[in-house]
Each structure stands twice: as structure tokens, then as C-alpha cells.
């Protein structure tokens, strides 16, 4: 009985094989060694600086192709802007590039002032410049520190982050908030800088170079660090312009484009500073240029503090600038102005403007279309991180998988700004 069934089985199997052989069958076996594999990185990954998702096509350890997927932090900033008055939108800009909230505040204030056709008084402009540069320092400290973490140099990050904590203390003292500052107002700034604040900034800019020297000793001539960054993720000047890079990433490729020089705003034309640039365009250049920019920022702050004039900090323009609080509670006219501004907003003339500043990441611009009402008809944010990230697949192609984190870190994307 048993033998019978076995032979039966054999018969059936033979029949199947016969049938298959008669058909035109191709048997393909995939050899994993000869195929590429797709690796998903993010959106929750320690070195993607937030919620960036990168899909990597790998051939062994070499990246053949890469694709970015953004939008995991899309918060609808532009839609919110259309539904809030100009004043109401200023606090939202803190959360755009959350490593340097003050420069975003300054950018939106400049854009609104341009569309409304007013200017801030000189003292406000000086204070804005100083705070802008402090924000740049805080952002660059984070950027160079995180390159350190990504390459395994955690101690470096501890050094830079300690300095950032000191900066936070200064913001706490000067602005009133540690992190989300919302310091600028249309036509000026929220409140004046105190003597104590100025002293704190002076102490900070005096001490920072020493710490930076220490940091430079740690990494700048470190053999392991240089081997892992030099010549990695190269981009030529032509490509960089074509792909729309801006800020330190563009200047690391040999361009000198800096809006502080090319399209001067605030008081930058009155100050003496250099625009550092490198010609290599690799990860190391993008790292080094940020350290150089910190030194330049320190120079700018020093000069601006010396020249800081006395005077008003918000323009005397009742149709646009908020009145001082102490006057609101004592004077009728100011109370009415405050009521009108808070409820109906400023009413800039019909028109459209674009105002950009050189933020720590690159060109941060606001394109405002005004229809004459208190709400912007359209407010487009030109966010540098979004444009810088676009080039990532080009940089990653042909690199080793362990260099991916270093390259992402050197571009220094902030997803809050990228995804808007």
C-alpha cells in the first residue's frame, strides 16, 4: 500500500516536471550579491536632524542612488499666515528655523516693514543686527557640534552645546525667552536691551574664541576626522548654483554670494567684515566655513556694540507700530491705536514684495502679496533648508554608507524650516 502511494507520487511528480518542461519556462534565481538593496533611513533616525527620510539604494556599501522624502513636519505655515494678521504671524516664525529663531523674527519684520513702507529706528536696527549674529553663532555651534556627533565625536558636541546654553542665558536676559523669542515687532523691537544684557554679550564674545580654539584643537587637525570628511560629498560651484544651494553650503563651493554684502539690509553696509569662502566644496569645507563665520559674526557684534546709538526702539507710526504698554494704560489715543492694530492689523498698500536675509542656513526670504487688508493674501517662505536638501541625492551618489550621516550633518538642514 505504502509503496503504491510512493510510486503514485513519483508518477505525479514526473508528470508535472514533464508538463513544465514542455512549456516555455525560464527559471531565474536572484543572486543577492549582484543586486542593489534599498535601505530606508528615517524619518526617526538619530542623524537625520529631525524627520528627514532618505531612501538609499545600495550596492554593497556604496550608495548608488538616493531619494529624499520630506513633509513629515509640514505644519501649514503659509496657510496659517493667510489666516492671521501680520503681527500674529511673527511668533510662528520662531518655529521655522528653531536653531536661530531671532533671525527669522528679523526676516519677517523686515519683510512686513518693506510691504508697509516703514523703517525701524537706528537703535532697533543695531540691536536686530547683534541678535541676528548671535542667532547665527548659536545655529553654527549646533551645526558643527552635530557633525561631531554624527562622526562619533560626542565630546565636541558637549563643548559647543555648553556655549549654546550660555547663549540661551543671554537670550533669556535680553529677549525674555530662552528659545522661542518673538522679539521683533513691526517697526522695531519689543523692548530695549539693558546694560546688563550688553555686558553679558560682551563677556560672551570675549570668551567664545578661546573655547573655539579648544574645539579646533580637537577636530580640525584630527586625522580620523579629516579622513572621513575630506573629499566626501563634493559639489562644484556650477552644480551648487544650478541646484539652488545658498548660505555656507554655497560659499563652501567657491561662491562669495552673501546677501549681507550683495543686497544689504539692516546696518551691514556700515560694518567691516569678510565673507569667508572655500573652494573645495566637500564636507570638511562645509564644516570649516561655519567656524570661520562664527569668528566673523563675533567681529560684527563687537563693532555693532561699539556703535550702538541711543534713541527710540520702535518707530513712531501709530498706523503700523504697536504703542508702548505704559502709554496704552494712560492715554486714550494710544489705547485706540492698540485696539485697532490688535483687532484689524496693519493695512499695507496693495502690492507684492520679496525680502530676504542671509540667515544661518542661507537665503531666508519672505514673498508677501498684500491685498490691502490686515491679512497677507499670500505669504511664501523661501526656506534655505528646503533648497539645500534638494541637492542631497547628488552629494550621496557614489559615497560609502557610513559617510551619509556626515554629509547630511554638513548640509545642516532644519526640518521645521524645510517642511514649513
Amino acid at each position: 500500500m505504502k509503496e503504491n502511494s510512493l510510486s503514485n507520487n513519483q508518477d505525479i511528480r514526473n508528470k508535472i516536471i514533464q508538463k513544465l518542461l514542455e512549456q516555455d519556462v525560464q527559471i531565474v534565481s536572484e543572486d543577492p550579491l549582484e543586486n542593489t538593496m534599498v535601505l530606508n533611513m528615517g524619518p526617526s533616525h538619530p542623524s537625520t536632524h529631525g524627520v528627514l527620510r532618505v531612501l538609499l539604494k545600495l550596492d554593497g556599501e556604496t550608495v548608488v542612488d538616493a531619494m529624499c522624502d520630506v513633509g513629515y513636519l509640514h505644519r501649514g505655515f503659509e496657510k496659517i499666515a493667510e489666516n492671521s494678521t501680520y503681527h500674529e504671524f511673527i511668533p510662528h516664525t520662531d518655529r521655522l528655523d528653531y536653531l536661530s529663531p531671532l533671525s527669522n523674527n528679523v526676516a519677517i519684520a523686515l519683510a512686513i516693514e518693506k510691504v508697509a513702507g516703514i523703517t525701524a529706528p537706528p537703535r532697533a536696527q543695531y540691536i536686530r543686527t547683534i541678535l541676528c549674529e548671535l542667532a547665527r553663532i548659536s545655529s553654527h555651534l549646533m551645526a558643527i557640534g552635530s557633525v561631531g556627533i554624527d562622526l562619533g565625536a560626542l565630546t565636541y558636541w558637549f563643548y559647543t552645546f555648553t556655549e549654546r546654553e550660555k547663549l540661551y542665558d543671554i537670550f533669556d536676559l535680553v529677549v525674555g525667552a530662552r528659545f522661542t523669542t518673538s522679539f521683533t515687532r513691526i517697526g522695531g523691537i519689543s523692548h530695549d536691551i539693558t546694560e546688563e544684557g550688553i555686558q553679558a554679550i560682551k563677556v560672551f564674545i570675549k570668551e567664545l574664541p578661546n573655547i573655539l580654539k579648544k574645539c579646533e584643537k580637537l577636530l580640525n587637525r584630527n586625522r580620523i576626522f579629516i579622513d572621513r570628511t575630506q573629499g566626501i560629498g563634493k559639489i562644484s560651484l556650477n552644480d551648487a548654483l544650478n541646484w539652488g544651494l545658498s548660505g555656507p553650503n554655497l560659499r563652501a563651493s567657491g561662491s562669495e554670494r552673501d546677501l549681507r554684502k550683495d543686497e544689504p539690509y539692516l546696518i551691514y553696509p556700515e560694518l567691516d567684515f569678510d565673507v569667508p569662502y572655500y573652494n573645495e566644496g566637500d564636507t570638511l569645507a562645509r564644516f570649516l566655513i561655519r567656524i570661520d563665520e562664527i569668528y566673523e559674526s563675533l567681529r560684527i557684534i563687537e563693532q555693532a556694540l561699539k556703535k550702538l546709538p541711543e534713541g527710540e526702539i520702535i518707530s513712531n507710526d501709530p498706523k503700523n507700530a504697536l504703542p508702548r504698554k505704559e502709554k496704552i494704560y494712560t492715554k486714550m489715543e494710544e489705547l485706540i491705536n492698540d485696539f485697532m492694530l490688535v483687532n484689524f492689523g496693519i493695512n499695507p498698500p496693495v502690492g507684492e514684495i520679496y525680502q530676504a536675509i542671509e540667515s544661518s542656513k542661507g537665503e531666508l526670504g519672505f514673498y508677501i502679496v498684500s491685498d490691502g487688508s490686515g491679512y497677507p493674501w499670500r505669504l511664501k517662505i523661501r526656506s534655505p533648508s528646503f533648497c539645500n536638501l534638494q541637492v542631497l541625492p547628488l552629494l550621496l551618489k557614489g559615497q560609502m554608507i557610513s559617510d551619509v550621516v556626515a554629509i547630511i550633518g554638513s548640509i545642516d538642514p532644519v526640518m521645521g524650516e524645510c517642511d514649513k
Binding site: G50, Y72, L73, R75, K79, I80, R178
Partner: protein, 160 residues
Amino acid sequence: MGLESYLNGEGFFTTRVNDLLKWSRTNSLWPMPMATSCCGIELMSFAGPRFDVARFGSEVFRMSPRQSDLMIVAGTITYKMAKVVRKIYDQMPEPKWVIAMGACASSGGMFRSYSVVQGIDQFVPVDVFVSGCPPRPDSLIKALLDIQAKLKKEPISKYY
């Protein structure tokens, strides 16, 4: 302060398994930082040199959900991200706790818009909400202490 004070030169002490497990678990919460936006930077401060969460035994930030038992959701969660957060939460081994850090994670915060989830408690259970936009690292340490207090109260048998 630590166990040494109980030793009294005897070299040994007696306790209940329940208390020992609770004690060890309370002081070794390993966080999984679900840092999406601004709060993530304050989360770094929380782990960083000044606030130094190592004092409370939570310095081991694990980026792998399999090795962590406390998820700190720091930042705005969009609908696109919600799936990811839920997936990571599901991958964490029991017992697990969740801190919703900041206004955005707790309630959507200032982003009342089409793409932002108005509070992560819609799809993951939350143990502690932290207010602030973003909260200072001190308040996050307070939240960690709250979780520890909660842990001390619950009988260990609840999880087995």
C-alpha cells in the same frame, strides 16, 4: 544616598523582589527621543551638559525602540508622521510610558492647521503632558520625575 546607607557594614541586606525591581526600573528609564521639531532641541539640552539627565538615570538615549521604555514625543506630529510614531510605539517592549512634550504634541499647540494632529493622545496613550512651547528642560525633568513617581506607586505585578 544609595544602597550603601542600608548596608551598615553588614555586607548584605534584605528586601522584597517587588521593591528591588521597582527601584531598579525607576532609576533606569531609557528614553526613546521621538524628536520632530523645536522641542527636540530642548530635549538635547535636557540630555546635554547643563541639565544632565544622567542624574536621574535616563542618560541612555536609545534610538532603537526595542531597547527603550520611555517615549518622549517632542514636537509637532503631523498626520504623515502619526503612522511612524504609532509604529515605533508598537515596537517598544512592555512596559512602556509616553511623555507628550510641549503644546504641539499635547494639543496641536499654535498649529491649528490641516496637517497637524491635534494631540497625540488620539493615537497613543500618554502618561504625562508637559506644557510650554517649548517647555524648558527643567519641566521635562519634572515630567520624568512624575513618571518615576507613577512607577513607584504601581505594583510590579501589573506588568507580568
